[in-house]
Symmetry: C2
Subunit: 451 residues, 2 copies
């Protein structure tokens, strides 16, 4: 039986270790950070994540879902906060059975690590930073951050789950014919916090994802188990782009106060540490990474290392977990033939990773701008009607991505067609009764097959 | 007066040194290779290049054009070699006054270096390989390949003309918010050679660019001053893509012979060293590089380091030289205000570099495939008629790119509109007399303004 080395014990790496251990492989996982279960390492860029069906499928397959469910907070829809403080609830799914889950990145990661270590064929090694790869000899160089020593290993198979800044992928950049792109948004983000009230309860409606959409910028809030919310302010970096609504311009307590009072009057009272958070927390970057090939000999990229995406569809972790679902499926199909396994994995996942990258970028505009418009909300109503009438042919894009496991690529392609149909049907009207439903039927007949 | 450091003494770096010297700047040029005038260094990836109006403009501005003209061979059009050995001449311009120039990369580079060194405010330093940049302190690290020592400099202004694999750009990858993409074609190339005949004369028609278009692959030949031709075979790397017409498949003398006999029967007799060349020369890669920003503080990218493109429009060098023309123009406009100079340079050139990258990729399909079709040749005839009738409104794409200095972006946008018009006018007919010229006029009136 082969030995498999994993670089990175984040969410994807820890989950993958479990999958492989269950198949009987010996698994060594190398992680550059200290063990987060012992020492708070500040790893990862956001504090809570949205777990949905694709990620849940993976957790079910490894038998961890019931445990994770205990630390999940269901979010049934978006709560839109308009500038005058009014709120509108937009449901994500068809009813309360469809929701996404706010879950702590750190808690989830620790539970995955704990489960991985229950297998005696899994070893986690911390404080090991990958410093280089010799592609001729397949030798991987590590620096032991505790002992200050260099260590070299020669894995039979190496899977890099080492995130958006993947050192393994950086090494692959030197290989001939390695295609690569990194694209930054002109927007950054800042994490803020709404604490629990004195009784430990949530100070905003708990079971939804809150959005303050303001056109070119927005604030969002996701609930935590301790009664707090993690808020994220997304805004242009540069004054040249965002004017007074930019991190460059909002650079003093006075300007921050003015900016918040103008935009988020209903929430600033709930954030006592706001000024401190704003000026102490770093401004995060938003990056999309695409590359190809993901495989070189028996070295493979998985998760963010292969396809980092922006967070606006809440699919970064879910996509990485789905990589594991598929890889596991190919192991079941092809046994120990790793050339075949990796080849099929890459072929299937690359096209879908590209698709979710595009979907996530699209969704930024939807969240920060469109959701606030009547047009958008009217189109959502038409969409919902059409979904009821044609449940296998007109499935909302959000549903395809979040509540189903159909390929992302399919969701992207069908989503575009559906968007055009919705634009056509909503053109010039604002009342459901005026919708031309027979035209709708014709358009759907003509343009959308059954899934 | 500021001192300017240039990294890379290739075509762009040497030319830029002259421009800056003429403006009175002290210029240090660091080059990783030995001095090519003393030692043949095999620098650069192709032996001859196509010099056209944009490059000529730069050479005129620095006063070197008359000298370079002596080593140029005019090419008035494409000579298409069909599979049965028949040839068709397709003129590039409207008459013999419009042509491109085959010129030796090495000769041109050496002449530029010689001229640069005539200025006592220019110093060329060879064997200096850039090994790192500290963006905090603006310190550039060099390794002296002769003395085996490290040298550090602190330039006021650094311009990187260090090519597609630019070490300066590789360092910039580490900067936050640096956008970057490198995209390889699935095709490679191999250089072959047609020597002069025993009297030193060209064995094919001298004053044209020869093409053997074969659909998914092609051979081309450009004339050299010594009576030889440099040939380049462009073909898929992988059998999976190219089948028997791929570098992967054509891997033995027998297969090579069979491949050539099937495809290039009229030329193989002219290449006595063919088998040796094919198996000894490396298979080159074809890369497109885009990045942004090109400027960080007073460090700037120029030429291939900022925008490497595929060679199919013969514009790589011309685009780099045009960067120098514009940079020089901004120096004249803004004096010693280098923030402004670099800012405007970047703003103007980025959009045009992206455009020529796209145009060059499009032209590969035209060269290897379309030129061989009757449809293409018929459209060329219509295009030529329209150009005569509307000389300021319907200018062939090739003419805009090669014989004019209008922005590449304009050429790209107008080229697309014109292509659609040509498709519409040529649809279903093959005779110039059947073209609907009044429809043409309407389409042009409606879609194309004057340039």
């Amino acid at each position: 039986m082969k030995k498999i080395t994993i670089n990175g014990a984040g969410l994807a790496g820890s989950l993958l270790a479990i999958y492989l251990a269950k198949k009987g492989y010996d698994v060594d996982v190398f992680e550059k950070r200290p063990d987060m279960r012992i020492k708070d390492t500040g790893g990862g860029r956001s504090i809570n994540l949205a777990l949905s069906v694709r990620g849940i499928q993976a957790l079910k397959e490894v038998g961890l879902y019931e445990e994770i469910k205990q630390i999940c907070i269901p979010m049934y829809g978006r709560m839109i906060h308009s500038i005058d403080g009014q709120t509108t609830f937009l449901r994500y799914g068809k009813d309360d059975s469809e929701y996404i889950n706010s879950v702590s990145r750190a808690e989830l990661n620790m539970k995955l690590m704990n489960m991985a270590e229950q297998y005696k064929n899994v070893n986690l090694y911390f404080n090991r930073r990958c410093t280089g790869i010799n592609f001729e000899t397949n030798e991987i160089n590590y620096f032991n951050e505790v002992l200050n020593t260099n260590e070299n290993i020669n894995p039979e198979i190496l899977i890099a789950t080492d995130g958006a800044t993947s050192p393994v992928r950086v090494e692959m950049l030197k290989l001939p014919r390695f295609n690569f792109s990194q694209e930054y948004e002109n927007y950054g983000y800042k994490e803020l916090n709404i604490p629990a009230d004195k009784n430990g309860n949530h100070m905003l409606e708990k079971n939804c994802l809150h959005i303050w959409p303001r056109g070119s910028y927005m604030l969002i809030a996701l609930p935590n188990m301790d009664g707090s919310f993690t808020c994220t302010l997304f805004m242009a970096y540069d004054e040249l782009l965002g004017g007074k609504n930019s991190f460059e311009y909002v650079n003093s307590p006075d300007r921050l106060k003015y900016f918040l009072n103008e935009n988020f009057i209903d929430v600033i009272g709930l954030m006592p540490e706001l000024e401190d958070d704003y000026f102490k927390n770093p401004t995060g970057t938003l990056i999309t990474i695409k590359c190809f090939p993901w495989i070189h000999n028996k070295i493979a990229l998985l998760g963010d290392s292969a396809h980092a995406i922006v967070p606006f569809f809440g699919q970064g972790m879910n996509a990485a977990f789905e990589d594991c679902v598929y890889l596991n499926g190919y192991i079941e199909k092809f046994g120990d033939d790793w050339n075949k396994i990796l080849d099929e994995y890459q072929k299937d996942r690359k096209v879908n990773a590209d698709a979710i990258a595009d979907l996530a970028q699209e969704n930024f505009i939807e969240m920060r701008d469109l959701v606030a418009t009547e047009k958008f909300q009217f189109k959502k109503k038409i969409e919902s009607e059409l979904y009821k009438k044609y449940p296998t042919r007109f499935i909302p894009k959000y549903t395809m991505v979040t509540f189903m496991r159909i390929p992302y690529k399919t969701a992207l392609v069908r989503g575009k067609i559906q968007e055009k149909i919705l634009n056509q049907l909503s053109d010039g009207i604002s009342d459901l009764e005026k919708v031309n439903w027979s035209l709708a039927e014709k358009l759907i007949d003509f343009q959308l097959s059954e899934i």
